[in-house]
């Protein structure tokens, strides 16, 4: 579960950082990395039961909280070091989207 959470957090960070970039060429890299990290997250998801049905309420909340905390920490670190255009407001919808894609919710 920890590995799965780490991987979906990475996917979310990739996606949000991708949106902070104006240069098309680099953004393509972010999109590619996002899909690679999402695939890795999906492969870890396969190892957790129930595989094909969403989790229960408390588990969903727990996973979501842990992912959001990790993503926020990564993004805040970058903001504090001067990384520009990062939209913290994207954390919640991005995490939600990824949790749906990985059949957590």
């Amino acid at each position: 579960m920890d590995l799965f959470i780490g991987n979906i957090s990475n996917s979310a960070v990739h996606m949000i950082l991708g949106k902070a970039i104006d240069e098309d060429n680099i953004r393509k890299h972010y999109d590619k990395e996002f899909s690679i990290s999402l695939d890795i997250a999906k492969s870890y998801r396969e190892k957790i039961n129930p595989k094909n049905t969403p989790f229960h309420g408390k588990e969903i909340k727990d996973i979501k909280d842990r992912v959001i905390k990790k993503v926020r920490a990564e993004l805040n670190l970058r903001i504090s070091k001067g990384y520009q255009n990062i939209n913290i407001g994207l954390i919640w919808p991005t995490v939600n989207k990824i949790l749906k894609k990985t059949k957590v919710i």
């Binding site: 920890d2 590995l3 780490g6 991987n7 990475n10 960070v13 990739h14 950082l17 970039i21 104006d22 240069e23 060429n25 680099i26 890299h29 972010y30 990395e33 990290s37 990564e74 670190l77 970058r78 070091k81 001067g82 990384y83 520009q84």
Partner: protein
């Protein structure tokens, strides 16, 4: 099945192929397919080795067979074999193949076809020449990947590195997973994440990146035989993680400092 070899001869109105009257099968009136005979020169595939000091003869034969199959299936400028297949022994998960082409190719059916024909799992990456050269100058993972490879045709190997800190930040993030998940990762996963971190560290310090040099740097940073211990998952977390975190944090600070100093986007 009967096969005959014959030469096309010039006719007045139509060209023709003569075949002996006394023959088994291929009766008059039956339909046949005509295709060019593969000459010995065509069958002979030359391989270009980059930093591959030794490769088992069976693997060379497999690579030639892959090139032959791919040549039949698609048209591309170059085929590059990389990854664990080129390591000594037979401890590889899949075959990493880079197809260099300017045309769009649907690689999924080709992957399945190769798997059906040859057995192992194939991982094909389609890339244009321009993207390959750019990757080689800006992406430490590309440098690492292509520092040891076998290709169908010769390609420009040495390009001037150009650090794009935002891309490096993206790649560095992958290595963070090891810090939080050391106990749950397999030996190969630990090795890959460590290799990624050290390759990035070499890159931002403007050092040459080859697989052997990165492995050597891992052993220098973390202690003798660390590569071997990592891959076999024999390494104890305590000492290793302490050093790993230090290298990771240093690299991250350098990268984030670099991002701050990068010219603003247009």
């Amino acid at each position: 099945m009967v096969e005959l070899i014959s030469r096309i001869s010039k006719g007045t109105r139509m060209d023709q192929i003569y075949i002996p009257k006394k023959r088994i099968d291929l009766t008059v009136g039956s339909y046949v397919a005509i295709r060019p005979l593969e000459t010995t020169a065509e069958e002979e595939i030359k391989l270009f080795f980059y930093n591959v000091k030794h490769l088992e003869p069976i693997k060379t034969r497999i690579i030639k067979e892959i090139f032959k199959n791919l040549n039949q299936l698609i048209k591309c400028d170059n085929i590059i074999i990389t990854g664990s297949f080129l390591e000594s022994g037979f401890r590889f998960n899949d075959m990493d193949i880079i197809l260099v082409s300017e045309e769009k190719i649907n690689i999924k059916p080709i992957e399945s076809l190769l798997e059906n024909r040859m057995g192992p799992k194939f991982h094909l990456i389609l890339i244009s020449n321009k993207a390959l050269i750019k990757g080689l100058s800006t992406d430490p993972l590309y440098m690492l990947m292509l520092s040891k490879c076998v290709s169908k045709t010769r390609f420009v190997y040495r390009v001037k590195p150009k650090i794009n800190y935002k891309l490096v930040d993206l790649h560095l993030l992958k290595s963070k997973l090891l810090i939080d998940n050391f106990d749950f990762l397999t030996g190969d996963e630990k090795y890959e994440m460590t290799r990624n971190l050290i390759a990035i560290n070499q890159f931002i310090n403007k050092k040459e990146i080859t697989k052997d040099k990165v492995d050597l740097a891992i052993n220098n940073f973390f202690g003798n035989k660390t590569v071997q211990k990592l891959r076999n998952n024999f390494l104890l977390a305590k000492d290793f993680l302490k050093k790993y975190k230090k290298v990771y944090n240093n690299a991250q600070n350098r990268v984030l400092k670099g991002i701050k100093g990068e010219p603003k986007q247009k």
